[in-house]
């Protein structure tokens, strides 16, 4: 009898790109397990706050639990501060929540997108245990290895150390 595994990978990818005054977040809607498709219409995107949207791929039960936890924390924040949480604040909260379960992690690969306090687009990218970074664009999930090189090609500005081509 195979050992009980508490994890499963339900596949899918999430992308987010930040612009000057906007942010675009996208994900696919397939939920799979092994070689089976469980459903073709399951959203991986969840709105946490007015200016903050979470997209996660990985194990969807952990994702659901994470969404509920963050939504509950956001409600408490709203009651205490009488305002919505900003995207950078939610970014820090998500990181702390993920690290809290460092020794039995949430198997989720998250991308948090939204607008920062100045109204500029912001994207935060995470690993499963909460290390995060603000970036201009990011992709997570099973397709990230295919999507990131494409985004790098289109969106990454060349390094100033790059020498101009010799004529």
């Amino acid at each position: 009898m195979s050992r009980f595994s508490p994890y499963d990978n339900n596949g899918g990818s999430c992308v987010a790109i930040a612009g000057a005054d906007y942010c675009v977040i996208a994900s696919d809607t397939r939920m799979s397990t092994g070689y089976n498709i469980l459903t073709r219409d399951h959203s991986k995107i969840y709105k946490l706050a007015d200016k903050c949207i979470l997209a996660s791929s990985g194990f969807q039960a952990d994702m659901k639990a994470l969404q509920k936890l963050l939504a509950a924390r956001h409600l408490i924040y709203q009651h205490q501060h009488n305002k919505q949480m900003s995207c950078p604040a939610m970014g820090q909260l998500l990181s702390n929540t993920l690290y809290y379960k460092r020794f039995f992690p949430y198997y989720t690969f998250n991308v948090l997108g939204g607008l920062d306090n100045e109204g500029k687009g912001c994207v935060y990218t995470y690993d499963a245990v909460g290390s995060y970074e603000r970036v201009g664009y990011s992709a997570q999930g099973s397709g990230s290895v295919l999507i990131m090189p494409f985004l790098d090609n289109q969106l990454k500005s060349p390094s100033p150390l790059l020498l101009p081509a010799q004529v």
């Binding site: 009898m1 050992r3 009980f4 595994s5 508490p6 994890y7 499963d8 339900n10 939920m31 397990t33 089976n36 498709i37 469980l38 459903t39 219409d41 399951h42 194990f59 969807q60 039960a61 659901k64 639990a65 020794f103 039995f104």
Partner: protein, 299 residues
């Protein structure tokens, strides 16, 4: 971690110390689910060691392990299922949900029990079907009975719909998985409330989703493709039953743990009807079956 021990060894071992740890940990661990399931598991733990009343406080005060480590050395959880049910298949049709499950309870490779009803109504609006460990299904039914009872005791005119029951089951399954003590089931939850049809599934690790048609176990491999091809919106009752029977027939031919005695349940706004058990007609007279080794090497 003591994963390799056989079940016989675990039963023979002195259970008092470990069971005490179990009950105190369970009472300490915070449940995200409603308190009724915490009470139920506490009651369970107490019922288990009624025979070992003597060894109480000395053990409890010494053991202060963090809950995660303690649950990993726990020997009381389901390491492998014993009596299992095979697939459940369900689909949405015009008036509600149709669900089919056979009545078999397998003990490993033996088809031991042939009258296990694996579907049950839940409250006024929902129908639950389960595959996997039958005893865990019976435990879940007890939890749900308590949930529905407490809901009706509010006497506020509101009753739990399928969406609420599905969410409750998801939380219960997820929290059990967090403690490395899962209910070894795949649950199918369907229902109708205020004209809205709902059909969802929960796996043993708390993975849940909704769809127009679902299937557990082998049904995922054999029935789902048929449903993807032939299901359409607003099936009539007869068409829905025919489609389900087609799926169940394929499962009967190809799933070794299927038995030819099934029930079909329907849930509509009016309520739940679970049919009497009946058998499907099968045909084994294919020429290829008559002499299967004809032309094979060495035949």
């Amino acid at each position: 971690m003591q994963r390799g021990r056989s079940d016989v060894e675990e039963l023979a071992e002195d259970e008092s110390g470990e069971e005490l740890l179990l009950s105190s940990d369970r009472s300490r661990q915070a449940h995200i689910t409603s308190s009724s399931s915490a009470e139920a598991s506490l009651r369970l733990a107490f019922a288990k060691f009624q025979s070992t009343v003597s060894a109480h406080s000395p053990m409890e005060s010494n053991q202060a392990k963090p809950s995660l480590l303690a649950s990993e050395s726990d020997s009381q959880r389901t390491l492998s299922p014993y009596v299992t049910g095979t697939s459940v298949v369900a689909l949405k049709y015009k008036d509600g949900i149709l669900m089919a499950a056979d009545m078999g309870g397998s003990y490993g490779s033996t088809l031991r029990y042939k009258s296990m009803s694996r579907m049950t109504p839940v409250g006024k609006h929902s129908l639950l079907g389960a595959s996997g460990e039958i005893s865990d299904f019976q435990e879940i039914c007890k939890y749900l009975d308590e949930l529905i009872l407490h809901d009706s005791m509010w006497d506020d005119g509101n009753s739990l719909g399928p969406k609420e029951v599905h969410n409750y089951l998801t939380r219960v399954m997820y929290n059990r998985r967090n403690k490395f003590d899962p209910f070894w089931n795949s649950l199918v939850l369907g229902g109708v409330k205020k004209g809205e049809k709902y059909l969802g599934m929960v796996s043993m690790i708390g993975l849940s989703f909704v769809d127009d048609h679902v299937a557990t176990g082998f049904g995922n491999h054999l029935a789902r493709p048929i449903l993807r091809d032939e299901w359409r919106e607003d099936l009539s009752f007869e068409d829905g039953v025919k489609l389900l029977e087609k799926c169940m027939r394929v499962l009967l031919y190809r799933d070794r743990s299927a038995v030819n005695k099934l029930q079909i349940a329907k849930i509509t706004e009016e309520g739940v009807t679970i049919s009497q058990p009946y058998s499907l007609k099968t045909f084994w007279g294919f020429t290829a079956f008559n002499n299967p080794t004809a032309g094979a090497e060495g035949s």
